[in-house]
Symmetry: C2
Subunit: 209 residues, 2 copies
């Protein structure tokens, strides 16, 4: 498609670089902005430029944060001996919403993905290992997605943490049939894992609050 | 959901103001930008700010254009006595892609929509009427969407142009069964219209190039 204006071509090309947004949607969004007050475009434009340049990360867990040390890491009532390793800020938000996890986090900033050219050095793995060496940590919970990249990262982290030779328990979040999910629709691998990792009935009752 | 950073809250809120984009998608897009070079955020930010502020319209047809008079309106080989009235630049692009329409356009910039608070004065209708009065025009083709707003605008334009008392033919684009579409799946209204507005067989054969 040829656009009748250079400015229009530019904005469509830039918006269409975002994942999941094609040229047609980009054009629709651009024309939408045209009908809105100029402030909306200005605010959007400034928010994008500012976010990328001024975003800060917590010195300890590397979650996005406005402070040098985030609210979770500076909360003394939390268990700093229990570290949950996650991919990004969305996972922290999801777990925090449950209100049940009282440990702290370590945000990797991605997953090891040879196909996308993401190696261990692109993530905050070295900082995690240093954190485990410098502070007394009891347990590391690997809470990564159950994907190929997630599994690769899990194995890499497991080996790296093991070589530290520290008295740290390494665990992963449980895989199984989701609450409210029907057995017959679960995939085979999940079903097998849920049987192999079965839990005592009394324990499961107690968790049904 | 609570975001751990003000900058993150800002960018998510602004992106989520775009139509069809929720907070979850907005967060995904923001985190995507974080993994890209800073230039991409800068280019996107600048394209948005520039587009809204510097966008120009053709003086004659009001299509988006970098020039005072757009390429279509300044093309002497086209039929300037035949004006096709469309909603926005996307329709011009769609019709131009066919390469079959040799007339010129008039871009309304929207449709009359009482529900969305868009009245005739928000569109370029007055300018269309002035254009019809000032220049000798033979025919106006109303090429608007077959929606409630499109029909409302069609009727309004028809009445306004009629009151000018000029020798102008007013037509609308044909509604009917699309090429390649199966009869049994067409909706009733379209089917009835396609029968009522039937065309001589010889004419239809000639159009099948």
């Amino acid at each position: 498609m040829e656009y009748p204006s250079k400015l229009l071509t530019e904005i469509v090309d830039e918006i269409a670089k975002l994942p999941g947004i094609g040229k047609r949607t980009a054009l629709r969004l651009a024309l939408h902005l045209l009908k809105q007050p100029v402030e909306q475009s200005d605010n959007l434009s400034q928010a994008i430029a500012k976010f990328r340049k001024e975003v800060k990360y917590c010195e300890i867990c590397h979650n996005i944060s406005d402070k040098a040390v985030c609210d979770v890491c500076s909360d003394r009532s939390r268990n700093h001996q229990l570290i949950c390793v996650v991919e990004d800020v969305r996972d922290v938000m999801a777990i925090e919403t449950t209100g049940e996890f009282r440990g702290v986090y370590h945000v990797l900033g991605g997953l090891i993905s040879p196909l996308d050219g993401v190696g261990p050095s692109d993530l905050t793995i070295a900082k995690l290992l240093k954190r485990l060496t410098d502070y007394a940590v009891d347990e590391v919970v690997l809470a990564l997605s159950a994907t190929v990249d997630g599994d690769t990262t899990n194995f890499y982290l497991y080996r790296q943490i093991s070589t530290l030779n520290l008295p740290i328990t390494i665990s992963t979040i449980a895989r199984g049939i989701g609450i409210g999910e029907e057995l017959e629709y679960a995939d085979e691998v999940t079903l097998v894992r849920s049987i192999l990792n079965r839990v005592p009935f009394e324990k499961s009752i107690k968790q049904n609050r």
